[in-house]
Point group: D2
Chain length 289, copies 4
């Protein structure tokens, strides 16, 4: 029996049974491993870290994309950083009623091709969409050379394992300061921001630190992703104040889903508010910055 073992919480581990190995290889940028798991269907791992699984990738991706998209009244230009599997673009393009251009910048063309071949449902309807431009390049290079300004930015980059590594730069205040140069006034950014368990929220804290140093307003939220075996965190950031309070969410915000004709299959429009109800004892772990 082949297993996929991932450490958790420093003392524990989650072991996933592998029914079938679908694809395994190494691009110039990362190792990938696609396997079938009985509980969660097709699972995608990069560098030994589960990225998303068929059973609930829509939970993960809906939570990543829609809060920023819906908090912004008119997200015309949207930038996706990373997002190689294509599901992030898929969710962004559900806001077709307001989106004019979605630009996805991923350094790893080979990985995107592997995803399109082995995990085609992730990017369904996205790749080939007339509003989507995909650039295979370093996001730093893209920022330097791009002549668009964005209303929403979605960060769907891999987790940082080592905060001294090069990858950590993509979550640094320096990086975000550069990114700001290609943002429109009122722009809002959302990024995946690591696991939120009760013990180790280092990644989440560090993401908040980078964003908080550059943007005037940040807000954490989360949702349980069953195949990740816990609560997953995200951070919103903007220089313009935004309100995720109870009343706003239940009125103005929800109506935008309706206006744009969007039903959240995985989260459910009615449960959207729960994204902003991270248990206090977990919130305290990362707010004591």
């Amino acid at each position: 029996m082949i297993n996929y073992e991932q450490p958790s919480n420093a003392s524990d581990k989650v072991v996933r049974g592998i029914e079938r190995i679908v694809a395994t290889g190494k691009t110039p940028y990362q190792d990938y491993f696609f396997f079938e798991n009985r509980a969660n269907g097709l699972c995608i791992a990069i560098n030994g870290d589960i990225q998303s699984c068929q059973s609930d990738e829509n939970i993960y991706h809906e939570a990543l994309v829609h809060p920023a998209m819906i908090l912004h009244p008119a997200p015309r230009n949207v930038l996706i950083m990373g997002g190689g599997e294509g599901a992030t673009a898929r969710e962004v393009l559900k806001h077709d009623a307001v989106v004019e251009k979605c630009v996805m910048v991923d350094i790893d063309e080979e990985f995107v091709e592997v995803c399109r071949r082995y995990a085609p449902t992730w990017g369904e309807g996205a790749f080939g969409h007339e509003k989507l431009d995909v650039h295979y390049m370093d996001i730093n290079e893209y920022i330097k050379t791009c002549d668009l300004k964005f209303d929403v930015v979605i960060g769907d980059l891999v987790d940082v394992e080592d905060w001294e590594s090069f990858l950590a730069n993509l979550y640094s205040d320096e990086f975000y300061a550069n990114l700001k140069k290609i943002l429109n006034p009122g722009a809002i950014l959302a990024t995946q921001a690591g696991a939120l368990n009760s013990v180790d929220v280092t990644n989440h804290r560090n993401v908040r630190r980078g964003l908080g140093a550059v943007f005037g307003h940040i807000e954490s939220y989360g949702i349980v992703v069953p195949s990740f075996y816990g609560l997953w965190g995200y951070v919103l950031a903007s220089d313009t104040p935004f309100d995720v309070g109870y009343e706003t969410l239940s009125t103005r915000i929800l109506s935008r889903f309706e206006e744009r004709g969007i039903e959240l299959d995985a989260i459910g429009n009615d449960a959207f508010h729960a994204l902003f109800g991270i248990p206090l004892s977990i919130r305290k772990k990362f707010e004591g910055e």
Copy 2:
């Protein structure tokens, strides 16, 4: 290295490191195993199943107790079924302002003693409280002989592993029908109701089935319990309609916490609403009854 391995989702498993074995033994009713885990502190397992861990037992127990207690305007008499560790009673008694009597019925006196000895923080302030009566007996026997009527019932019984077993009776419509005889009009019941992951929600469905057959109104809710590696489910039931809608929760309900002087340490009063935001794709698994 000693590990505590628990299957999950039929194909996967969660392996918790054991730093120290604190207590292990067998009462007439169950096997218990108390151990220290680096991530989650003291952990209590019964019959090979984690019951609660020091790091987040307050998340589990706050979620179990407070929704029913706060939805009821005047919970004078409260019955706890099971709850041997004492934390359920601890949470109930936080409603000291309105509670007059809290009765805890647990069949396993020896286990309660083991908990009081090895996990004293669970029952802190509960055992010895003047409003708490503890009866060590079969809950069926208690129902037959008791002369109190209850406003709130909290079910904190162990998970059913085998729905053909004797234990399953405690979640059956027959059992709930008997229980009803000792309820006041307007009474509300809350019970823990198994894991809510995306794959297997058998336990939750079965708990809903039993309650739904007997009570006019039922409602599922959930919260992430990090040491359980996922979302945990609960069910509310009453013959009197109750509202867990957004607006009610944000107004009337929250004010009751204030009136009774209760701060939810683990969930947070502000995040209380999120209990009722189970992701739609998970909700669909158990609602297709």
Copy 3:
């Protein structure tokens, strides 16, 4: 981290780390999985069962082949049943001085090709050897149609997991009775015969039962194969008495290695005698037939 987990002894398991997945697939007859393991190099698994590993496949294969070959004074024609990786043929052909024809019958041509591609050192010097004939067919069919008579037969078939299955026939008395029809007088057979641990020696007992019903003399032997995490068993069988006693081994038998110019790289000629020293407490497990 990807692991290869194999149950052992009903209550335990051996978990091997996977450095790299080399090949995985399904032939018409079996699932194969080739992976790199830090401790043992390239490992070959069939149907979830480790077959042999680079680090010590020579221990396994020398022990399988040489006792029968050396106990026979003149093994001209040798039949290999199974042996897809080619290492069994490699060892047989070390007796080039006396062997005239080595016939390998393996049902699974695709698997043999996979081995030649991904594990070429196993069959080094065998495939392509002028004395080797490979037939890709059911061994039962081969027996019916072959017109050679053999002096030595080496059984290198996969372990039986289910003794009610079709595969079990290849270890049955009926099968061995048929096989006998293509043996020369004085022929000797050796077969791999499962793990010899102190607890479960079912496979070994069953192999002995089949052979013992058909041949006049059988003898178990074994050697530790580190990558199998224990002692591995084999059985010799013949209608002609053979002696693996101390004195015979140390004199006549060892001299044959010299006569044929064979040095046992893995076992060592000097340690050859130890094959016949299975600890008594283990021997008792399978001898109480």
Copy 4:
């Protein structure tokens, strides 16, 4: 389910199921953990390392004790270093016909008591035997103060995990040089000497190095201990030449077992020779000193 996980070969691990925890605690010198395992019965671990299991502790202890005892023509005084469980003394005292005094020196009185209470079969017939003296003290101290001279020394000390640690001194040339002062001419020493798998034989090499620096003649041997999941190594050492060659073993040596009325239950007298048949490819790992 509770498991006992032990790393092996740097990349792999052996996971043993725990049926029941029998005893766990900490003496001034070590952590101990006694558990029931389905395959191997009662298992004793010290500092996270399996010491011996009920199912085959006799294989381990017979192999440790009898080679030295039988190679010596008249082992009157025998010293056991360590051996807390009592099984080493039990085996030594089987040579009652020739032994006059058996001295066991173990630093950890509490551990010996724990063994006598929870694993009484290990020391059966030893503790309380009139020829056994037990001293609870540092072996270095014992050597300084003792006025006996020994014919055989059996080293049954725990494995060294860290060769920079204090414990490593007990396998150092300095230690052995001191030990020599209390040996009779012709004395022979045997010590357990770590796992002999194909990959990592560091412990065995280091034990050989210490002994080889001090004694004129050393010899490695081994036997499979199924509950250790592989081959276990031992080293013999003496200043007087001793012969473990085939012929000697099969004649003079075996007759001594008979003379002393000893039947090796676990190894078997007939399989005694196999102890000295370590596969060549494994032997090469530690002989390239």
